[in-house]
């Protein structure tokens, strides 16, 4: 094996912020006072927050040191399944930082915000085209927020047809946000078992889909990395009974330019710009979860919508059937700017190529690790593949142990224990921005870990060893919550 990617080096300890502050310091340049001080209503006056005072060098070192405790896409391969941790292009950061965007007030009179309105208008068009749907709203702030928006669209649309209905079918492979979003909208989730091939069977849908069921939430490609091959048949059943088909498009990275979601019978779909469209995940956000819909759902989209009139862009509230609003303003513009930049940088060929290579990388990992790890669904995969720890069970080595050990090898672990249908799941999504060499090293590392599992399981139980902190006691954290200092 080549030199592993992971090693140890000098990094720094750093206390909590308030363990280092001292009154009389500041890292802020207080603007010059040009007006006199006014008295404040004594009844309302407070004493101000108890924050530590620090100098600029304190702040800088504090966060530089903290940053060095993180793994990130810029430091190495981050094959978190379902998260599409692709490379985040640096030019996108330049664009979103342009003062014209960054300093713009959201309520500027429209003639004074044409640039960003045009960007939103065009981005909607591009996303509509890429998904093969008919219209798009950019308002949702993340994937789950898009799902909520989608469920609200179901509700509003169905209500306009008579009754919103009360149930919704959610496959057992679905992401947790799907049923949670449905619940927020008052829909009771009905669990739908996927079949032995890891996908939905029309029969199962046929059995459960009734006149009180609003429809179905499909993820396609699904969280097993498989294409829902029966999607059209499923959609036909749902539609025939007056229901709607929602598609969780978190995995769109597998099928740009390859599948037309509109043609599959999907009525509503959300995208994750922070996955497929390369905006950085920021250690947990912000993201952006645009929702694309079929023509007849368009009137129900959130307002305001960006429209074009005589060559000028406007924000219009004039959609009387609209479901309302999910964001105070228009959503996460900063993320949209990055996605727009990405789409323009890639072009139609680039996007399709990205999907092809994302699938190629996943297929290559799957074929190379099959045998070393148990592959519960041995079928052509899309952008990710899901293994389990079954073959390591005899050695009392669990998915968690292997994930932690992978850190020592210099890789971020895959998503683990999801989807729930695969016990001890190891869900690997390499993305298209990883080179063959990196993936080969990842495969070698995974194989080395499998060998270690047989030969030296303690090594895995004690992993990680190279990180600044060893395994953390999550039970303690939950039993005696310390949520602030």
């Amino acid at each position: 094996m080549k030199e592993t990617a992971g090693t140890t080096g000098l990094i720094f300890n750093e206390p909590l912020l308030w363990e280092k502050g001292k009154k009389g310091r500041t890292a802020f340049s207080l603007p010059r006072r040009d007006v006199k001080e006014h008295a404040v209503d004594e009844n309302l006056k407070g004493s101000g927050p108890d924050f530590p005072d620090l100098s600029e060098v304190d702040i800088v070192r504090h966060y530089i040191r903290l940053s060095q405790w993180n793994f990130s896409v810029d430091s190495g391969m981050y094959p978190l399944g379902s998260c599409t941790m692709k490379y985040n292009p640096k030019t996108n950061e330049r664009q979103s930082a342009l003062p014209g965007f960054a300093m713009a007030h959201p309520l500027l009179p429209e003639p004074f915000s044409q640039g960003v309105l045009k960007l939103m208008f065009e981005l909607e068009q591009y996303l509509t085209e890429i998904t093969g749907m008919d219209a798009t709203t950019l308002q949702p702030a993340a994937g789950a927020h898009g799902e909520l928006t989608g469920m609200l669209l179901f509700y509003t649309y169905l209500k306009s047809k008579g009754t919103p209905r009360s149930k919704i079918l959610v496959p057992d492979t679905a992401h947790g946000t799907n049923p949670a979003s449905a619940s927020l909208c008052g829909y009771r989730s009905i669990a739908l078992k996927s079949n032995e091939r890891g996908v939905l069977s029309p029969q199962a849908v046929d059995e459960l889909m009734d006149e009180d069921t609003a429809g179905i939430m499909v993820t396609n490609p699904n969280t097993l990395g498989l294409f829902e091959e029966n999607i059209k048949a499923v959609a036909d059943i749902v539609h025939a009974r007056g229901g709607l088909v929602y598609c969780d498009g978190a995995n769109m990275n597998a099928v740009m330019g390859i599948v037309n979601m509109g043609e599959l019978g999907v009525d509503v779909l959300h995208l994750n710009l922070h996955k497929t469209f390369s905006s950085p995940h920021g250690g947990g956000g912000p993201g952006s979860g645009p929702v694309c819909v079929r023509k007849d759902l368009e009137p129900f989209l959130p307002v305001p919508r960006v429209i074009k009139k005589k060559g000028k862009y406007e924000l219009s509230e004039d959609f009387p059937d609209s479901m309302g609003k999910v964001h105070a303003f228009y959503g996460n513009i900063g993320v949209m700017i990055r996605a727009y930049s990405y789409i323009l940088s890639m072009g139609p060929d680039g996007l399709k190529k990205a999907s092809q290579l994302a699938v190629l990388n996943a297929a290559y990992v799957k074929d190379n690790l099959k045998g070393t790890f148990h592959l519960p669904y041995d079928r052509p995969c899309m952008h990710e593949c899901v293994f389990s720890d079954k073959l390591q069970e005899p050695y009392k080595v669990k998915t968690l142990d292997m994930a932690k050990r992978l850190m020592d090898y210099g890789f971020h672990p895959p998503t683990i224990y999801f989807p729930l249908v695969v016990p001890g799941a190891l869900m690997i999504e390499p993305t298209e921005t990883e080179s063959k060499e990196t993936i080969d090293l990842f495969i070698e590392s995974m194989k080395a870990i499998a060998r270690e599992a047989q030969e030296n399981p303690e090594l895995l139980h004690a992993a990680p060893q190279k990180t600044r902190r060893r395994r953390l006691d999550e039970t303690l954290a939950a039993r005696k919550p310390r949520l602030s200092g």
Partner: protein
């Protein structure tokens, strides 16, 4: 063909990998997809731009926007112009923060985890609350989640919300409540610009009561009075905000008895960016923590007993509880929370107070300049950095004239409050100089 710089595969790599997976072409990777599911036309989006063409294009788009210092924007209304230290912008851009995922694997995410723990702590202190979560999307969704939480805690079916809460937040709340059987009752506002509490006396079936302070008119609510009014009632008191800098000067929600404090944190070191990404801040009393939405970072120890941080109490969350979760939130606004904690730390308690005072003083100067020029300020309640002013009906023309002079004279309120036709909401933060204010008022008088 041009080589795309984000795609590392050479033709040889592709050939070797296809061979390894025993497939003969890239198209072949999708052969298992039923043909009627395949897309047959190419994507109809513009051909790719080079990095340099993109720069030009984006410069043009951005260049069309009216922003300071070119324009003087006397507009707050939920989005505030504050100076952001360059050290903060620099640090937020660190690869290790920006390109990491949610810290599910704590051993390789201690940087994000400690920073968010610090954010939770400083947020708790700022709001005077016991516990703050790791963030929500924005002020509006925070408020909606807060009201849903009051319902979960109280098991009631109605909430009351002040009409002086940001009208856009209220619309989001209404949208969230629409598919439920829950009722939203509106509390009117009084002549002094604060919420009329009298209707509350007769409402015993409320799960929660929400006011915003400073409210949409910039006025401080008498939150302690509301607390008194709610004594012996089941309703939780929710204090919402869009300008948390005010708590550098005024009592905190916690001090005034809030059960939940939530709102928008954009003011704290986050560029406005046409409204997003911003920062949903969310805090509550500790006793309600298991009903809170969103992620929480907690302190713990590692195998060697060393201090570390992890995501915790996730039994509330969608990935564990699925349909029974307290919220559906997954991706939150972590990097914005990071910016906020850096900003709060950069100011420090001392700087935060001074900056709050300065904002107050600027807007007080604006107020006296406006009254000095003969305009009416309808609301008498104390404000922070925003104020409602009534102009003559002819002011719409003046507003247009000022736009030409690159001044944006606040937000017209008529669209939001029909009863406040000819009223404008003006804002003056530390970025507005005395001279700017004088120019504005002189131009208005013309």
């Amino acid at each position: 063909m041009t080589i795309m710089r984000y795609l590392p595969h050479t033709p040889e790599d592709i050939a070797a990998m296809l061979k390894a997976v025993r497939i003969d072409s890239l198209e072949g990777l999708f052969a298992h997809i039923p043909d009627d599911c395949r897309r047959h036309e190419a994507l109809n989006i513009p051909d790719h731009l080079t990095e340099w063409e993109l720069n030009d294009h984006m410069d043009t788009l951005a260049g069309s926007m009216a922003v300071s210092p070119d324009y003087k924007v006397f507009m707050g209304a939920g989005s505030y112009e504050h100076y952001i230290p360059s050290a903060v912008s620099f640090l937020v851009g660190r690869s290790e923060f920006a390109t990491a995922y949610t810290p599910y694997q704590p051993e390789v995410s201690q940087g994000t985890l400690q920073a968010i723990y610090e954010y939770q702590t400083l947020t708790s202190r700022l709001l005077g609350m016991e516990v703050a979560n790791a963030s929500q999307y924005d002020g509006a969704s925070s408020l909606a989640e807060a009201m849903l939480m009051t319902i979960r805690v109280s098991k009631k079916k109605a909430v009351a919300v002040s009409r002086a809460v940001h009208p856009l937040y209220r619309r989001v709340l209404e949208t969230y409540f629409e598919p439920t059987d829950l009722e939203i009752r509106e509390l009117p506002y009084l002549g002094d610009g604060t919420t009329d509490l009298s209707p509350l006396k007769d409402m015993d079936d409320l799960g929660g009561v929400a006011v915003q302070s400073p409210n949409f008119f910039g006025c401080m609510e008498n939150v302690e009075d509301i607390r008194h009014t709610l004594e012996n009632k089941s309703a939780l008191l929710v204090v919402c905000f869009s300008e948390p800098l005010a708590y550098g000067l005024y009592k905190t929600p916690g001090e005034c008895g809030a059960d939940i404090a939530c709102g928008e944190g954009q003011s704290l070191g986050i560029p406005r960016t046409f409204g997003g990404p911003a920062l949903g801040m969310f805090a509550s009393k500790m006793k309600y923590v298991r009903n809170m939405p969103g992620r929480l970072v907690g302190e713990t120890v590692d195998l060697d007993g060393k201090r570390g941080h992890v995501l915790t109490l996730s039994a509330r969350e969608q990935h564990i509880r699925r349909e029974k979760a307290t919220s559906n939130i997954c991706t939150n606004h972590s990097l914005c929370a990071l910016a906020a904690v850096m900003y709060m730390a950069a100011l420090g308690g001392t700087g935060f107070k001074k900056l709050a005072q300065l904002n107050y003083d600027k807007s007080e100067y604006l107020k006296s300049a406006l009254t000095g020029a003969g305009f009416k300020l309808p609301f008498s309640q104390a404000t922070f950095n925003e104020v409602v002013v009534e102009f003559p009906a002819s002011f719409t023309k003046t507003y247009q004239r000022l736009l030409k002079k690159k001044m944006i004279a606040g937000l017209p309120l008529g669209d939001f409050y029909p009863e406040l036709k000819n009223h404008y909401l003006l804002c003056a933060t530390e970025t507005i100089t005395k001279a700017d204010i004088e120019t504005l008022v002189q131009e208005i008088k013309k």
